[in-house]
């Protein structure tokens, strides 16, 4: 079994980065072995990459349902657990229940959206990670996982395609 190696190629511009990704594919690097690190959101379509899967909308929906159920509990069940008559109104508040349902649904949805980002992105994570700080200067880095043997071949190819630097990626504390 060959040893796995990571390379980090830094590009300043979008087009060379996109070209490089295409070329890497012809060199036998699968899309799953590549990752893009960028300082601004670069869409998958811009770089010709497959679409990313995200659970955030699903989690938001789940949170909304949970929030709605919590609202149902507060609006319809909690008043009957210790029933108190006020102002000649029914025990369940009626129209105000809509307010309770709305606020708790929204709260559940937004909390779970927020938590969804944490879950999907594995935040917070303070372990060493493969990263170059040039990324936050607006550069685009391609992180490639390749067999040890391919390292030289890929480095040369990436340099030829306009990579600013190609270096073996080592996990470091951010």
């Amino acid at each position: 079994m060959t040893e796995e190696k990571s390379l980090l190629a830094v590009f300043t511009d979008l087009d060379p980065a996109a070209d490089a990704i295409e070329h890497l594919r012809t060199l036998g690097v699968h899309d799953d072995c590549m990752n893009i690190i960028s300082g601004i959101p670069v869409t998958e379509a811009m770089l010709g990459r497959p679409s990313q899967w995200t659970n955030v909308p699903r989690l938001a929906l789940g949170g909304a349902i949970l929030g709605f159920l919590a609202g149902m509990f507060l609006a319809f069940l909690s008043p009957t657990m210790y029933a108190i008559q006020v102002g000649g109104q029914g025990f369940v508040a009626g129209p105000p229940s809509v307010v309770v349902l709305f606020e708790l649904t929204m709260l559940g949805m937004l909390l779970s959206t927020f938590l969804g980002v944490f879950l999907d992105s594995y935040f917070p994570s303070y372990r060493p990670m493969k990263y170059v700080t040039e990324v936050s200067d607006g550069k685009i880095a391609i992180l490639i996982e390749c067999p040890d043997a391919d390292e030289k071949k890929l480095t040369d190819a990436l340099k030829k395609l306009g990579a600013e630097s190609v270096q073996p990626a080592e996990a470091q504390h951010l």
């Binding site: 009957t80 657990m81 108190i84 008559q85 006020v86 102002g87 000649g88 109104q89 025990f91």
Partner: protein, 252 residues
């Protein structure tokens, strides 16, 4: 968790046109404005004395007040009859639903508005929403004798049947609920119903002109029902639909 037997029927509260349970009639033609009811109420219910300054700034805590009005322009003024105002014990009380911790609640048994002092956190929404402005707030610790040595002796006259309230709590007239309960307990121990006129509220008891009458309004035979049935009766701000339990007699 859910105990169905806890839940009284929703319709237990009376609707418009129906009567509540306890009621009062105040005859404005008889009222002399002597303030005896105010003093008696304060004694009976441990109402705090707020001092001259706070009283002058609208913080007096009397549960009943005598409203004075006049007609005409000075110097041609003519006094009108006095109007004692206390909690009207509304059937549909605006103060109740607005209280977030359920401190202002409706008694199913006595058809009265209750104020649960222990639950009150002092949002004062109930007082704003009371069209009769009869709710009073403990702006300071008026009953703390460490702050006012004069209170040490005054404490000796507290009514042991009534809670002493602390700062930050809303309070109001209870129709002397401690007297209601006492009379009911006594009647129960003797195996009978509470008779009309057996007991009355402190304000009615103290009124030298007998302008205030208290009793069961759901009993057509009671004195209070008969007085209320006269055609010179009216209720305060009846148009708001609060179903007040106090009838004012005027112009007899």
């Amino acid at each position: 968790m859910m105990n169905k037997s806890n839940i009284p029927e929703v319709g237990a509260n009376f609707a418009e046109g129906e009567q509540g349970k306890w009621g009062m009639v105040i005859d404005r033609d008889l009222c002399t404005g002597c303030q005896a009811c105010v003093a008696a109420c304060s004694m009976e219910n441990n109402v705090a004395f707020v001092g001259e300054e706070d009283s002058g700034y609208g913080r007096s805590m009397h549960w009943i007040r005598i409203e004075r009005f006049w007609e005409g322009e000075y110097p041609e003024v003519k006094m009108t009859s006095q109007q004692p105002v206390l909690c009207q014990q509304c059937g549909h009380a605006p103060c109740e639903p607005v209280c977030p911790p359920f401190a202002a609640v409706h008694s199913q048994a006595e058809q009265l508005n209750l104020q649960v002092y222990n639950r009150c956190v002092g949002t004062r929404y109930c007082a704003n929403n009371c069209p009769y402005q009869v709710r009073v707030f403990n702006w300071r610790d008026y009953t703390d004798d460490r702050l006012d040595p004069a209170l040490v002796t005054l404490k000796n006259q507290y009514n042991p049947d009534v809670t002493v309230r602390r700062r930050g709590v809303m309070e109001k007239c209870t129709f002397c609920i401690q007297r209601i309960h006492k009379a009911q307990d006594k009647a129960k121990s003797e195996g009978r119903e509470v008779a009309d006129g057996e007991f009355t509220t402190a304000c009615a008891q103290a009124c030298p002109a007998n302008a205030i009458t208290f009793g069961r309004v759901d009993n057509p035979e009671s004195l209070v029902s008969q007085l209320a049935g006269q055609n010179r009766g009216s209720k305060l701000l009846e148009e708001l639909g609060t179903l007040p339990q106090v009838t004012y007699l005027n112009g007899g």
